[in-house]
């Protein structure tokens, strides 16, 4: 104990580093600065080995320790804990074995599987998109009952020559006239150049004996009267438009000829309008 104090004193004078031994007595030497003079604290000494020439620790601290800058490293602990998690038992530069985690199917199989999933997703999306669009279009298009009313079939054999028949088609009247040979000749004899809406008779009637027209005046939408007017055709009573035997406007305010709907002749002397 005394020799330790001496060592500390000389170390402080010579500015050397001293690592204290990790013993309880050594700790006490440093921590209890006046350990040498407290007899009840120091059971080993009993004052026999103390030399008065040796400076106490407190004296060392106040004078030489501060001025001479002696550093004392205290021991970290009485027993050093051994650290097991970083030992030389395993070489840390070894690459671990990942074969347990690798799948055994090979590179190309993985790649093909990934692209297969991508392609399948795309194909199903295409089907879904197409179905959605088709459903919307089917919803917007005309329903079956509307389509059923869109066409009208007329039996022409019941219409005698020189007579008009008016039928209803899509809420509008349609005039069908079975023209005589004289009427056809009269319709063809008109000078096209002097008409307000120039059209020859062949453009208006695919079969000359059958004239099919929409029965709506092109002026303001009244229904003209058949076999009337100055030209032997139709006459609109609302504002006095005169149409000839081919349905062309000849006199009055209407700007255009009577409109021709789409129609076709079918077998069995029938006509389908629409």
């Amino acid at each position: 104990m005394a020799s330790l104090a001496t060592k500390l004193a000389s170390a402080s004078l010579n500015r050397t580093f001293v690592t204290l031994p990790a013993t309880a007595a050594g700790i006490r030497t440093v921590l209890n600065r006046s350990a040498h003079f407290s007899s009840d604290d120091d059971h080993h000494g009993h004052g026999h080995h103390e030399t008065p020439a040796t400076p106490s620790l407190s004296a060392l601290k106040t004078t030489s320790l501060n001025s001479n800058r002696t550093f004392i490293t205290a021991p970290a602990g009485l027993a050093q804990q051994k650290r097991f998690n970083h030992t030389s038992a395993r070489n840390t530069t070894d690459i671990p074995d990942f074969s347990k985690y690798k799948n055994g199917s090979g590179d190309s199989t993985n790649r093909a599987f990934s692209y297969f999933m991508v392609g399948t997703t795309g194909a199903l999306s295409v089907v879904g998109a197409k179905t959605t669009v088709a459903d919307f279009l089917a919803n917007m298009s005309a329903s079956a009952d509307v389509l059923a009313l869109a066409k009208v079939e007329v039996d022409l054999s019941t219409i005698p020559e020189g007579r008009n028949v008016t039928i209803k088609w899509r809420g509008k009247p349609v005039f069908i006239r079975h023209r005589t040979a004289e009427e056809i000749e009269e319709a063809n004899s008109v000078n096209i150049a002097e008409l307000r809406d120039p059209q020859n008779d062949a453009e208006r009637a695919t079969k000359p004996e059958w004239l099919v027209m929409l029965g709506v005046c092109t002026h303001l939408g009244c229904v003209p009267i058949g076999e009337a007017g100055d030209y032997g055709g139709w006459y609109c009573p609302c504002h006095g438009s005169h149409y000839d035997i081919s349905g062309r406007i000849r006199k009055g305010p209407a700007p255009l000829n009577l409109e021709i709907p789409a129609y076709s002749f079918e077998e069995g002397n029938k006509i389908i309008i629409g």
């Binding site: 074969s99 055994g104 190309s108 199989t109 392609g119 295409v126 197409k130």
Partner: protein, 71 residues
């Protein structure tokens, strides 16, 4: 530790061939997708129609129309 390579197996060679034929060119890949979508839709519609007709056998107009129409 040597890792066993499976790049030479039959499945792997098959997968590589399929990749080279179908996926490698994007135009071919997209065409394949659209064609298979068309085929898948047709197959789905046909199969589901058949299942439906099978479940409702004898109850639909096309099954009983012979009794009520004379042609």
């Amino acid at each position: 530790m040597p890792v066993k390579s499976n790049n030479g197996t039959v499945a792997n060679r098959f997968a590589r061939a399929g990749y080279n034929v179908i996926v490698k060119r994007n135009s071919v890949f997209l065409t394949t997708i659209f064609v298979s979508a068309f085929a898948a839709e047709m197959a789905f519609d046909t199969i589901s129609d058949r299942v439906w007709d099978n479940i409702n056998k004898g109850r639909q107009w096309k099954d009983i129309s012979a009794k009520y129409t004379t042609e």
